[in-house]
Amino acid sequence: MTTDQVIFIILSVITLGTALLVVTLRNLFHAALALMATFLGVAGLYVMLDAGFLAAAQLLVYIGAISILLIFAIMMTRRLMSADEPAFNSQVWAALVTAVVGFLVVLWAILRLTGLGTEDLSILWRAPVDSKPIGLDVLPYIQNSVAAMGQAFVDPNGFVLPFEIASVLLLAGLVGAIIVAWPKAEDEES
């Protein structure tokens, strides 16, 4: 049992445990806090995968912005100080089935792309011998360096297209936010 494995088990317990708490807690605010702990666990897993930049970005974006937005939404729409919602509603079985199916699809995709476990279960996957996984031809760029990641962002053989599309999406979000918050003409007269 190496140190890495111990740390991985601890981080996974944190992530999965708090994720379970998010969907089962009755107090909505506590559920949001548990969601933040889940994000923290995911950031730890990113650090274990040598993706320090991604871990810091997870902290900055998910915990520092999205969770706060969630908490604001909870506070603005639920005026109860001790919110005591029933944890499950009538859609719980459909949600469970969807989650399990989604998990299996993601698992299949990962195993097929990276070829993990092909020796044991080649009967099920039958991955072609010389298939090139998507996007992994820029793998030489993805080292432990932020400069390399920046290069991959603007490299035409790299991720420049997703990068630009994400920028357009963010711009659309900003413009939408401004339009939603723009004071209407009638309000200025009153």
């Binding site: 806090l33 969770s67 100080m81 400069a147």
Partner: protein
């Protein structure tokens, strides 16, 4: 195991005791672990103990600037033990939890704030080679932790079961989240110039300290740091006369002491960060690399002293600003950020990025620095001109508005005095 006293003293002077102990004990895994733990303990203890000095310093300096003396009773003529008395007072207070408070949130908030304030010290370069961990993404790590620590404010506001605390927490979160944007954008400028996010690399890249190359970025960072730590003029969040102390109205005793502690630690960190990013950190014309005699690397000790001098100079600036400037209203704070600071910092980063590419690579460091300095001053003059025009227009629209420039308002005040005299004379 040969323990040589001279070598030990040399390692002490060069702040490298861990390396020397490794040669004595042998390079095993647990040696690294123990030296890391000791390093963490030293940094945390330093942060917690220096606050005692910082609180006294702040009270004395503000007092002198306000033409009074400050604490001078506890601990001799200079009130040196005043902070100790304050801490004892906080410790012996009754520990109250408000009725109906969310216990988890209420108890977690002060600790999270202090944890975040201590975590960021890991990437502060104190001297050449003396740093907690030289992260590839040092600056980004600081920004991420500062951003994640905003959560603690919401916990405090919500967990207090108090409308005013909640409103104060909302305003605090709005201010902190808003001022992260110009902080990140202004920090991108030294990152760009140093081609790295590691704090050590940024210090090493400052042959000319960046404050002489990109002073506008330094000013924007200073303003954002003031807002992020909640110092005057942006201390609306927690001032006692505003919204009854904002989000920590329901906190007393040591829990309030923790918020207090976290504020001082993060203010000191921001001063240290400012010196790292813009003032050249521990560098002073190569003094930090001084090695005299037979391997006595006192340069590192000198670097540590230089770093502390610079850090406390910036901290003095923080105190000075607190002693002399008034508080800004919360809507003015947010307006100033989104309508002035963010566009300015965007224009700045754009201009610096373009200029950095356009200046030929063999231009030499002084030519490069002067061109960037010129560009900074031009952008700053342009921005001030725009501010002046906007203020003039606003003043024309609504006469008697607060937005006046100094020379014009003196003019107007004289006229108002004359008019009021005429009105009073006419009334009689």
């Amino acid at each position: 195991m040969s323990f040589d006293i001279v070598e030990f003293l040399k390692s002490l002077v060069s702040l490298n005791v861990a390396e020397y102990l490794k040669t004595v004990v042998g390079d095993q895994a647990w040696v690294n672990f123990v030296s890391d733990v000791i390093g963490v303990v030293i940094i945390s203890t330093f942060c917690l103990l220096i606050v005692i000095f910082l609180i006294w310093l702040e009270r004395k300096v503000i007092a002198r600037m306000q033409d009074r003396i400050g604490p001078n009773r506890v601990g001799g003529r200079y009130g040196l033990l005043q902070t100790v008395a304050d801490v004892i007072k906080l410790l012996i207070k009754e520990d109250i939890t408000p009725a109906g408070a969310d216990k988890l949130a209420y108890w977690l908030a002060p600790f999270l704030t202090v944890i975040a304030a201590l975590l960021i010290w890991a990437v502060m370069p104190f001297a050449p080679g003396v740093i907690g961990v030289d992260l590839d993404i040092g600056v980004f790590y600081v920004l991420a932790i500062s951003s994640a620590s905003v959560v603690a404010l919401l916990l405090a506001g919500w967990g207090s079961n108090n409308k005013y605390a909640l409103l104060g927490a909302f305003r605090a979160v709005a201010q902190l989240v808003s001022y992260e944007v110009p902080m990140i954008l202004s920090l991108l400028v030294p990152i760009l110039l140093a081609r790295s996010m590691s704090t050590v690399d940024i210090v090493e890249a400052q042959t000319v300290p960046f404050i002489f190359v990109v002073p506008l970025a330094a000013v924007i960072f200073m303003i954002s740091a003031l807002a992020e730590t909640g110092r005057t003029p942006f201390d609306l969040l927690e001032a006692e006369s505003e919204i009854v102390s904002g989000f920590h109205v329901e906190y007393g005793g040591m829990k309030f002491g923790m918020f207090f502690l976290a504020e001082f630690i993060s203010t000191l960190f921001m001063s240290g960060f400012f010196t790292t990013m813009f003032l050249g950190g521990y560098r002073l014309f190569g003094l930090e690399n001084l090695v005299i005699g037979d391997g006595w690397a006192i340069g590192r000790l000198l670097g540590l002293i230089i770093f502390f001098v610079k850090m406390f100079a910036v901290y003095f600036l923080f105190i000075w600003i607190r002693a002399t400037w008034p508080r800004v209203r919360v809507d003015q704070i947010l307006n100033f950020n989104w309508k002035f600071l963010v566009p300015l910092s965007l224009v700045l980063i754009l201009a610096i990025a373009v200029l950095d590419k356009v200046i030929p690579a063999d231009a030499g460091i002084y030519a490069r620095s002067s061109i960037l300095l010129l560009a900074n001053l031009l952008i700053a003059m342009f921005a001030i001109e725009i501010m002046r025009t906007v203020a003039r227009r606003k003043r024309k629209e609504s006469s008697g508005d607060a937005a006046m420039t100094i020379d014009e308002s003196e003019h107007n005040d004289v006229h108002d005095a004359h008019d009021s005299h005429h009105e009073v004379a006419a009334a009689h």
